[in-house]
Symmetry: C2
Subunit: 369 residues, 2 copies
């Protein structure tokens, strides 16, 4: 579960060993996650670029910087626009349901623009200074311009769908807008939870927040693919559920990695989430465990850690583990992945056709940082 | 031109006296601006309320506060959601072109939601503490929640259009999204201009900024009305031009009022824009006049005004006036209004049918504060 190898290093694994495993996954070339992601990036990038090139200069400059296509001074950059997981889910869902993925490239770009709008705004609110190994847009252009660039990308996403003659475009636009509302409520809940005392935060609230913040857009991407494939409402709902549950499994595993991940593999300092006193899911599960270790953790979480007090953080990690936080997160991730697979089987009964979506779900729940 | 009576106080004026006048306006009951606005508010409010009631609690609370329908503590408020000029323009444009205004109520609500999304975000960026005589949302809920509520209203606007079965809805959604991009570029330009020295700002830049910030959404509202009436692209463009030019005329007059308006009527301190060293259009025209007074104004604008230094502000106002800033703004407003009327005549040749739009254009260019 804490496998953090990069997609380029990953070797095929035999099926059936442990939580998060997607057993029965056809491992043919066509279903390899890295290839699916690279192909999505190739399809969607020209559409994304064209949309961003259409912006007025001030907004274009910030967007090009954010996507990693320009340096802050406006010179071209090699680009690191992220892994394109959401557009890949749109295209894979279309393919899984027998539609033409090329008909949904604009919709896939719209989903990616929406994701990037939320990143721009979340970074302003969370005061995060680094994104994709570069200074965040607000640190370079200021808060106002980062907010405006985010607003612009949300508008651009909706414009792509409004101008798309595909019969599924209006339903996709409605789904995307509804999803943005959920993402905003999730971000609000995240900020609100971080402001509360550790013992005032329930596990149910944290799971609901993670579903809104992380699951909603992955689910929406899959559902939009269903809409573009001409599938019915039931199939779209099932694929939405697949993406949501896989998203929650991803978040649980991401939180485990945030405490126990190997810094050499994650690229982050060890126990970073504990140092930041983040109310991540394993921590909240430990706090809510009713064990003596849960009580001890609440006490430890209320104290500041001196700079470099590595031993304190190690002790915290042990306490979370002994309170059952790690096991709970891993089992719960496996449970969510199992629900995801159930939803997928409901939407796409043929496992051969479902292979691309399966590969992506496995990728997101085992991804590196 | 500096008439700032409230719409409830205004008495009918005879036509033909001075710039901004709309001569030949049929003054029958159906074309009285106050009535048109009240009727638009009545039509659109239930749609707006229903959309906002559909939001998750956290976002709903902020939106209800922003629209004046709830106090900060969540108790009901009498409501002051603004004058509904933009939705009234949508509905009046539909009517002027022979369509059914009731078919465009959702679109009108979408335009109003978009306007309010930009108000929420602009207030955060500009650190404005008061809006519609109440503390702004960010002062009550914090920056993050005000940003999220703005994002939510943009999404809600697009959702209303995406879910509207009217055949004009996708084209309206595309226009609205394109307009948001222009509004964002306009707000960026506004912030950037305020950061520059007074003599580094050109009149052309200020006019372009005002067109993007103020004219674009008024134009878009009219064009969306044309789209909903089933009019062709030429008519929609002409009505867009009408709204834009009327919007610029409004901004010019608003800037005149910001310097020479009567505090008893505007509800703002006298010469507020000069005290804030705002680069309003009459000021920039004076600075760019090439007159000795322009040079003097640049010097005065570079100095801080001591608290309550009423005499300094009066002197500045006189200097702007002697440099020709006031006359220029009034003549330019009349010119813009004349262009607006030209566009309107192109879109709606029958003056009787054009009456509602004319009344609204006259209202916005003479409105109180």
């Amino acid at each position: 579960m804490t496998d953090t190898t990069d997609m380029t290093e990953r070797a095929p694994r035999p099926p059936g060993h442990g939580p998060g495993d997607l057993g029965g996954l056809p491992s043919g070339e066509g279903y390899e996650a890295a290839e699916i992601l690279a192909s999505a990036r190739l399809c969607v990038d020209p559409e994304l670029r064209a949309a961003i090139e259409s912006l007025p200069g001030s907004m274009r400059r910030i967007a090009l910087y954010h996507f990693g296509w320009e340096h802050a001074d406006g010179t071209p950059a090699a680009g690191n626009a992220g892994k394109a997981i959401r557009p890949a889910l749109v295209l894979a869902a279309v393919r899984a349901l027998g539609g033409d993925p090329l008909s949904a490239v604009r919709a896939a770009a719209a989903v990616e623009l929406t994701h990037n709008f939320t990143l721009l705004h979340d970074d302003v609110m969370d005061r995060d200074a680094t994104r994709r190994h570069r200074p965040t847009a607000w640190t370079v252009f200021g808060d106002a311009d980062a907010i405006l660039a985010g607003d612009t990308l949300q508008a651009l996403a909706q414009r792509l769908l409004a101008e798309d003659p595909h019969p599924g475009a209006p339903a996709a636009a409605a789904r995307l807008a509804t999803c943005v509302v959920e993402l905003c409520a999730g971000q609000h809940a995240d900020c609100a939870l971080e402001d509360r005392a550790p013992d005032e935060v329930s596990l149910a609230e944290c799971l609901a927040m993670a579903e809104a913040k992380t699951g909603a857009l992955l689910g929406c991407a899959c559902a939009i693919g269903a809409v573009y494939a001409g599938a019915g409402a039931d199939t779209a709902e099932a694929l939405d559920g697949f993406g949501r549950q896989a998203g929650l499994a991803f978040q649980l595993i991401d939180d485990v990695i945030g405490i126990w991940g190997d810094p050499a593999r994650t690229g982050k300092p060890a126990r970073a989430d504990l140092a930041a006193r983040k109310k991540s899911l394993p921590v909240v599960a430990a706090l809510a465990s009713g064990t003596p270790e849960g009580v001890e953790l609440a006490r430890l979480y209320g104290r500041e850690t001196a700079e470099g007090a590595e031993r304190d953080l190690e002790r915290m990690a042990r306490v979370v583990e002994r309170a059952g936080g790690r096991d709970w997160a891993q089992l719960h991730a496996a449970d969510r992945m199992s629900r995801a697979l159930g939803e997928l089987a409901r939407a796409v009964p043929d496992p051969e056709r479902a292979g691309g979506l399966l590969a992506l779900a496995e990728f997101v729940t085992r991804r590196a940082h």
